[in-house]
């Protein structure tokens, strides 16, 4: 067997034959084999020579004329005409093989976020956002760019989404809307008085809810707040991450350690400066690592290296970050995709009963703060944005938000009431949203639309004259200034 093995290897690579390293026996065998090859003698015949020669001789002989075999091998006669034959597909072994992407590579490509485009023109006179920029009403209808260090922090928070058109412009910049100033002013006022702003951003598709959340996060970073951002609530409730019950909880709650580990790493990265500065004030038991008092919070965050124990570390971190009276900065707790945590999750109990999203510990932490059951002692904001694409129907949430909105407008009679015959209302959801503030985002005003279009034009992306006419046109095509639709109508079509 060994001889035949060697033989095969030599035949495949004849260059090996003359090598000095080859053993004498191998050299002999291979020399013989190559000699046979040169003679045109079939290999099978040679290999099987000791066993039988009949079949091989038969194969080597030319078929006698007139036999069936001769007919098979002969070229088709002219009279026969063309015969339809299905050819076997040849395997592509010409060397140029297509390399399939590595595991995870496709997803990484899909999820990648490009924040700069060197082909886009730099916009002259574009200034960076300052700590107070978004508070100033005179900045409404202006486009300001994000400072580089904040961009890194936002990236760590995963505040940028793949569906946003950051990759078309030289530098990530944002439009200051009236709603932006409204939101930021509320955040600022809450932080000043050590209160918690509890707010939900809602609105139609692509009206800029996620971007408004990004603006809030930006403001928090610019003012040195601690930021905890849950970038996509869907990941928490669609049963795509591991979960485990937490002992000694009644009713039983579930932790999602893998997700929490990822969250801790994001917090670590985006709040790096603060975490290095702030020190622990409590001693924590049961952590994977002993963290003495007065060690930087970063050390505590770093102790979460494995999913196991991540939940304990997160709890300790939360306790430290919200410690009262130790000079802790205000905090922003934000979440995108509120609809997904306002329903029964896809997780199941061991008895195969569905788990309500609010029984997941991390979601519970958020909803407790959103409902006002717990508040942030150092002030700050809890902001959630609803999502419209890929969002499950959620009658209680929709109703609650509509009610809050109507109440804010001061309409006593116009407050919508639940439909008496509709099932599927959820009391827990209503309880969470009983007294939150709501900002409903709608289309841009024409002035805002104009500012945005001027920015597009200055970046060289929009190649038309920006005047009253073109602004109205895009504004109308975008469904009365819905910013995402305007973008679609003017940037993402090839027609202009």
């Amino acid at each position: 067997m060994s001889a035949s093995n060697c033989l095969r290897c030599c035949l495949l690579r004849p260059s090996v034959v003359g090598r000095a390293g080859a053993t004498a026996a191998t050299a002999k065998a291979s020399a013989a084999a190559t000699a046979r090859l040169r003679q045109g003698m079939p290999l099978a015949a040679a290999a099987a020579a000791s066993f039988s020669t009949t079949a091989n001789r038969g194969a080597n002989q030319k078929p006698k004329p007139g036999t069936k075999a001769a007919e098979r091998n002969a070229p088709p006669s002219i009279r026969q005409g063309k015969l339809f034959t299905i050819k076997k597909k040849k395997k592509n072994d010409s060397g140029a093989r297509v390399k399939s992407p590595l595991p995870g590579e496709r997803k990484a490509f899909r999820k990648r976020i490009l924040l700069s485009n060197t082909n886009a023109l730099p916009v002259p006179g574009l200034t960076d956002l300052g700590a107070e920029s978004m508070l100033d009403p005179s900045n409404v209808c202006k486009v300001l760019s994000l400072p580089d260090d904040v961009v890194d922090q936002l990236r760590a928070d995963e505040a940028f989404k793949t569906t946003q058109c950051w990759s078309m412009f030289r530098k990530p910049s944002i439009l200051i809307r009236t709603e932006t100033v409204d939101l930021i002013t509320r955040m600022h006022a809450a932080a000043k008085t050590n209160k918690t702003l509890r707010l939900v951003l809602t609105g139609d598709r692509v009206t800029g809810k996620s971007l408004m959340l990004l603006q809030a996060i930006t403001q928090a970073h610019l003012n040195d707040w601690l930021v905890v951002n849950i970038p996509d609530a869907q990941e928490l409730t669609t049963a795509c991450t591991e979960y485990a019950p937490i002992l000694d909880t009644e009713p039983i709650q579930y932790m999602q350690q893998n997700y929490v580990l990822k969250l801790i790493q994001a917090i670590k990265k985006s709040n790096e400066k603060l975490l290095l500065k702030l020190t622990t004030v409590f001693s924590h038991a049961g952590l994977p690592q002993n963290i003495p008092i007065k060690s930087p919070l970063m050390q505590l965050a770093n102790s979460a290296k494995e999913a196991e124990g991540a939940w304990a570390v997160f709890q300790a971190m939360w306790q430290e970050m919200t410690a009262q009276g130790h000079g802790r900065p205000p905090m922003l707790l934000s979440l995108d995709g509120l609809t997904h945590i306002m329903r029964i999750s896809d997780y199941r109990t061991p008895a195969f009963n569905p788990i309500h999203s609010h029984d997941l510990a991390l979601v519970r932490l958020f909803t407790d703060h959103l409902s006002g059951a717990t508040s942030l002692p150092n002030g700050g904001a809890v902001i959630a944005a609803t999502n419209r694409n890929n969002a499950p129907r959620n009658p209680s949430m929709e109703l609650a938000l509509a009610q809050r909105e109507a109440e804010q407008l001061g309409g006593g009679k116009d407050v919508p009431q639940p439909q008496p015959y509709l099932k599927g209302y959820d009391e827990r959801v209503e309880a969470v949203l009983r007294n939150v503030q709501v900002i409903k985002l709608q289309g841009l005003s024409k002035l805002e639309a104009r500012a945005l279009m001027e920015y597009w034009a200055a970046s060289g992306v929009l190649r038309i004259t920006v005047d009253e006419k073109s602004v109205t046109e895009k504004w109308a095509l975008g469904g009365s200034g819905v910013v995402g639709e305007m973008e679609r109508a003017s940037l993402l079509t090839m027609r202009f």
């Binding site: 139609d204 289309g443 024409k446 009253e468 006419k469 109205t472 046109e473 504004w475 109308a476 095509l477 975008g478 469904g479 009365s480 819905v482 639709e485 679609r488 109508a489 079509t493």
Partner: protein, 324 residues
């Protein structure tokens, strides 16, 4: 001269007998042969049996009977004349197409008389649908030659171009025989009016969609079935189609649109809206019509789904060929 050989009885064949059962004077009878007795009276031919009412009356009065022979001796005016024959006034009486020839000659005469009058340009002439050759042949009951009819129509069209203020009233009568009975050009659509709040309602159709669009002066807001343009149409192309009338004329920032659209699919609805909005816009600014026509917003696209035929999978598609 076939009729002369047949004699006077043939020439007078159509002359109706008087109610008194007596013959009318010959000159009166000859008058019936005149193509034009009087320029103002209606045409009367020898073959005419008088008016339909008279005919009916005669029928009631007496049973049909053969005309008695003419006894020239009884005719007072011609008592001393040994030989007389009825001579038609029009020389074309003896041709194959007397009615056409008479009209043709009359028109030529008119052309000679009025041909020098100033004309208006072809665009300003009142549009008239003239009879086709077949229709004219049917009307006169004569085999009119196509080339003759074309020449005749040329004269008519030339005369028709004469400035309306200078056109003599005789033309109306002269042209009457050549005009089609139903004049499609007189069917004018009702003009769209702008109502008391300034809305103009345009209706447009495409495929199986119907759109009603209220166009009102404004600042470019569009609501379709209570939804914004973006909500009503997912495709940007459809959104552009819907407001194309306003975009093509640079009026998107000058008007608001509130529209209702039903039936069909998205493309049909969007293009029905194009037409509806264009009509509403034309009510506000009629001068935009040429621009809108160039933009393709004026003409209704009449194409519908072609019906399915038996033996075919769809309207045209054949079933898959199977060997046996």
């Amino acid at each position: 001269m076939a009729s002369s050989r047949l004699g006077i009885s043939t020439a007078l064949r159509g002359v109706r007998p008087s109610s008194r059962g007596q013959w009318r004077p010959l000159d009166q009878q000859f008058q019936a042969l005149q193509l034009f007795n009087d320029p103002k009276s209606t045409r009367c031919l020898s073959t005419d049996a008088g008016s339909f009412e008279d005919f009916l009356k005669t029928q009631q009065d007496q049973a049909i009977q053969a005309a008695p022979g003419i006894n020239l001796a009884d005719i007072v005016d011609f008592r001393n004349i040994s030989y007389a024959r009825a001579v038609p006034v029009s020389p074309s009486y003896f041709s194959r197409q007397p009615r056409f020839n008479d009209s043709y000659l009359a028109l030529q005469k008119l052309m000679q008389s009025y041909g020098k009058l100033p004309v208006v340009s072809t665009g300003e002439v009142e549009r008239v649908a003239w009879k086709s050759l077949v229709e004219f042949r049917q009307m006169v009951g004569e085999r009119v030659k196509a080339s003759d009819y074309v020449k005749c129509l040329e004269i008519i069209k030339r005369l028709h171009r004469i400035h309306p203020e200078l056109k003599p009233p005789i033309f109306v009568e002269a042209f009457q025989a050549f005009k089609r009975d139903i004049q499609p050009f007189t069917n004018k659509p009702n003009p769209i009016r702008i109502d008391w709040v300034g809305r103009a309602l345009g209706i447009g159709r495409r495929k199986s969609s119907v759109a009603r669009a209220y166009v009102i002066e404004g600042n470019g807001e569009v609501l379709i079935n209570g939804k914004t343009l973006a909500d009503a149409f997912g495709r940007v192309h459809d959104r552009e189609s819907a407001v194309w009338a306003l975009r093509a004329t640079d009026r998107l920032d000058k008007y608001n649109v509130w529209a209702l659209v039903a039936g069909g699919g998205t493309t049909g609805q969007a293009e029905a809206l194009t037409l509806a909005i264009a009509k509403g816009l034309m009510a506000h600014e009629p001068a935009l019509k040429p621009a809108l026509r160039r933009a393709g917003c004026v003409t209704r696209d009449m194409r519908r789904v072609e019906r399915k035929k038996h033996g075919r999978v769809k309207a045209r598609k054949m079933p898959t060929w199977v060997k046996r």
